[in-house]
Symmetry: C2
Subunit: 285 residues, 2 copies
């Protein structure tokens, strides 16, 4: 397949990130989205959904470690974990490293993301290629999946694309109410919640929607180089445990490339503009 020299993601209509590529390895339209897999010189192979950079071989751990270990370490004894989205397997890989976790359900709406990740991203999809007994992969609608259970999961991780396209319903109060019911009485949920720099209105909206359903909602960040403006937010909503005050007694799996014990707390220390965006909806950029 012939390749253009570069691929650009327009994170906003006025801001682009461009990577030089050597090949378009795969491209298809599924019933849910347009999938591209390219080989880039900066970040290795990259998964692009509907034109949005999703993950890459070289930077994927900046996202997968932080969306997984921060909520799992906050819970004192997580046993059952639900991952919605996450078809590339990166979150499942990190979650399965926790020995106390006995059941991991992964539910992605697009089976093609799962199959292509196994083929093109074996280092990310390694638990999909060689699944441990505790991992169960479901192809289907995560919203319906969450609705079908009650009082069951300790941690739910929403590893979805942007709230435009197949991920849209995962950002609603209705979905958060289903997730609340699907969680045990001390359960918690985390969701990727876009950039606090170039998608400030979304960060505020997600915070407000979660705050209507859960008593504790805190935001934290990771640096994800392939995402627009690179500072990426996560929203953690919890019934009992508060990341700002909780004592963490368990030891995290090792080794880690991004996460460490001190980051468990420091990632919740937000610059003023980010706090103002979150709590007041103030736009700084």
């Amino acid at each position: 397949m012939s390749a253009p020299d570069t691929v650009t993601e327009w994170g906003t209509p006025n801001l682009g990130q461009t990577v030089k590529i050597t090949a378009v390895l795969h491209e298809e339209d599924t019933p849910f989205q347009h999938i591209q897999i390219v080989d880039s010189l900066q970040y290795g192979k990259m998964l692009i959904l509907d034109g949005v950079f999703q993950t890459s071989e070289k930077d994927e751990w900046t996202y997968h470690e932080m969306i997984s270990h921060v909520p799992l370490m906050l819970h004192p004894h997580p046993e059952r974990v639900l991952i919605i989205g996450g078809g590339d397997g990166g979150v499942a890989r990190e979650v399965c490293r926790h020995d106390c976790v006995t059941q991991v359900d992964l539910c992605d709406i697009d089976g093609r993301v799962i199959e292509l990740s196994k083929e093109y991203f074996p280092s990310i999809a390694k638990v999909l290629l060689d699944p441990p007994a505790k991992l169960h992969v479901h192809v289907g609608d995560g919203i319906a999946f969450a609705k079908s259970v009650g009082d069951f999961y300790d941690v739910i991780i929403i590893d979805c694309s942007d709230p435009i396209g197949p991920g849209e319903g995962l950002f609603t109060r209705e979905f958060y109410r289903s997730a609340y019911k699907a969680l045990r009485k001390d359960g918690l949920i985390v969701q990727q919640s876009e950039s606090p720099i170039v998608q400030q209105h979304l960060v505020h909206d997600i915070y407000c929607a979660m705050k209507d359903v859960f008593p504790i909602v805190r935001s934290y960040f990771s640096h994800v180089p392939i995402y627009p403006a690179c500072m990426h937010s996560f929203m953690l909503a919890s019934k009992v445990y508060d990341p700002l005050t909780a004592e963490i007694s368990r030891k995290a799996p090792e080794p880690m490339r991004y996460y460490n014990e001190k980051i468990q707390k420091s990632c919740f220390v937000l610059p003023n503009f980010y706090k103002e965006c979150l709590l007041e909806g103030k736009m700084s950029f």
Copy 2:
């Protein structure tokens, strides 16, 4: 002046950041560098030196607050501050907010950056336009300036461009030795030290060079949206005060848009890859 539609900075040969612009407001070659000032839709007016995005109206405080207040708050009573580079006036603006500071020397090699900043970036250059009595602006070589004094400054801030071009000499052991001598016996110096994601070798080299001269060297970060990969590192070298353990008793000036009391500590909590880059020279990207 007619304008192209976009300006792209190639942070590495394989990674570009592109902003849509409405005008090139100014362009000239000085004896030191190529200066461009553009009006961008995403970040407002932007200063570009030798093709590298330096600062913008909308994101400048993410850099200027963090390079200024972290070292100034670490020092229990900073009186005399030297800024090398910083011709746009943003660091001087933040430093002058500290009432305990009685003398601020700003030494930039390129007088045209100072003049153009006053004309095009009045919000950044406000203390250059209306200088308080304690601010003294010098146009000249910062290396020679630092060499000319001994046992004088409490804090030195190196707000320079990349170590290619006019900033090159500011990244050498020889310069750090001059800076050490120019500082009082409990003085400290901070320098912008590039991206721990896309300029990992530089971050390690700067750390090693400073560590040969100063007993305490710590790195911290800010998120600067216009810089490559947006995570930007600073290197703080100190004779006495250690940012990891120091108690901060003074109150910082208010209001701040990025900096706060908790960030004074949390900005030194580094992801594993960053620590490994710093201490071991390990490249993760």
